[in-house]
Symmetry: C2
Subunit: 253 residues, 2 copies
């Protein structure tokens, strides 16, 4: 919560610099130790959790705004970032619109406006991301997808929609380059798919299908050090991967 | 082009009723006689073509705004309508921003604002749609996809993005219910897919794959009247079709 002076300063600054009525919210996915993780922020002075987000500068392309917001929250530049939906219900930001209504008249209160929010999802390198709070928050941290806190506003719906989108996109788009380490075994990649889909997949079908996409390269050397038969290591064939991102996977029409 | 008084009236009305900075543009697809068609508007007094579009009322959910705009342009209520992308480059509406700059100062000129536009695509029943111009246009009409006029602003990019989205979605979503007549032959449905994809498909593979989705029912009676072997008629199994729309096609992970 802002003090009155902080609120006035914030609103003056926002009106001067940002496009009215538009915000951006980001669902940032990372993958670590077999868990799909989501970046969340905890507000100052409140037991309230949010997705990372922000506003669009008056002359800023919206993609740049999303990239800027994610760089501020993760320190990362090279992020796979994709717009997936605009959430435009007039009631979606109601709790914010009422929050400061005793401090400032609606005409001066940035938060009293209706905001459409543009949802982006990002797939990021968990190991190199440095979660960093924003001015409203005290904590920015990863949470396991199956252990998420309750999220404010419609942020749970935004997260669910991002996940639904990702699940459908597994059918026509490659995934994994920003989420997996450089080299990985077939079971490790299968675990990523299973985590996103929320269900077990058959080992042989998975291997046959994913190899059929033509986006993987197998190393000559199996992984070292295991006691039993060492598993083969794979990496992404980036040229084919990028082409499949543009043109769709080979399994398509 | 507006006269000055028309412009002033329009801007006053727009400022009072619509959300600033947001517009909606619709790519309306119909299918008729083996051609994919797109609904376009021709401006009054100008050789300029646009996609149908409009603005969002201050308290209107964006989906309702898109439905309202499409009802005004087609007379249809029950339309398959899907948001697909927000176009948010600050320069995208530059030609409009400059259009009336000699008539009104930017602060009073609705068109001088930056607009993000939310792209929706719609699949509509060609036979029952009644193309109807809006207040800026003299003509609302269908054009074949392969015979489109040059479109103003970024509307060609919006059309291309809608088409790219539709092509990818063919891989995980059923299509056709709003585009095909109630009963159709396998070659007629294949023609729809080929028209959207812009390429020929193998007849046997198409039939095997589309039947594998489990969304078609075959009539007992073949089509009457042909001289040679009469083709079987199919219709969509609406229950399975709706489920596939929600859950993705069976061919998925």
């Amino acid at each position: 919560m802002f003090t009155k002076q902080e609120l006035i300063d914030f609103c003056n600054n926002a009106r001067e610099n940002y496009l009215a009525h538009i915000s951006i919210d980001c669902v940032v996915f990372g993958f670590h130790e077999g868990q799909l993780k989501v970046l969340v922020l905890k507000m100052k002075n409140e037991e309230a959790w949010y997705l990372p987000g922000g506003f669009v500068l008056k002359n800023e392309p919206i993609e740049n705004a999303a990239t800027r917001i994610l760089k501020e929250r993760t320190g990362l530049d090279e992020i796979f970032l994709q717009q997936f939906h605009v959430f435009g219900d007039p009631e979606r930001s109601r709790p914010h619109r009422d929050m400061y209504k005793d401090m400032l008249p609606a005409s001066e209160n940035w938060f009293a406006n209706r905001f459409l929010t543009i949802g982006y999802y990002a797939l990021v390198d968990f190991v190199n991301a440095m979660p960093t709070p924003d001015q409203h928050s005290i904590l920015c941290t990863w949470r396991d997808l199956d252990d998420m806190p309750a999220l404010e506003l419609d942020h749970s719906v935004i997260l669910k929609t991002a996940l639904d989108t990702l699940r459908l996109q597994l059918n026509y788009q490659p995934i994994g380059y920003n989420l997996m380490p450089k080299e990985f075994t077939m079971p490790e990649l299968q675990k990523l798919y299973e985590t996103i889909l929320g269900k077990k997949l058959d080992r042989r079908n998975f291997q046959r299908r994913i190899l059929g996409f033509g986006i993987l390269k197998r190393s000559e050397q199996p992984r070292k050090g295991g006691a039993h038969k060492a598993p083969y290591l794979y990496s992404f064939d980036l040229e084919n991967y990028q082409e499949a991102l543009k043109e769709g996977l080979k399994s398509g029409w």
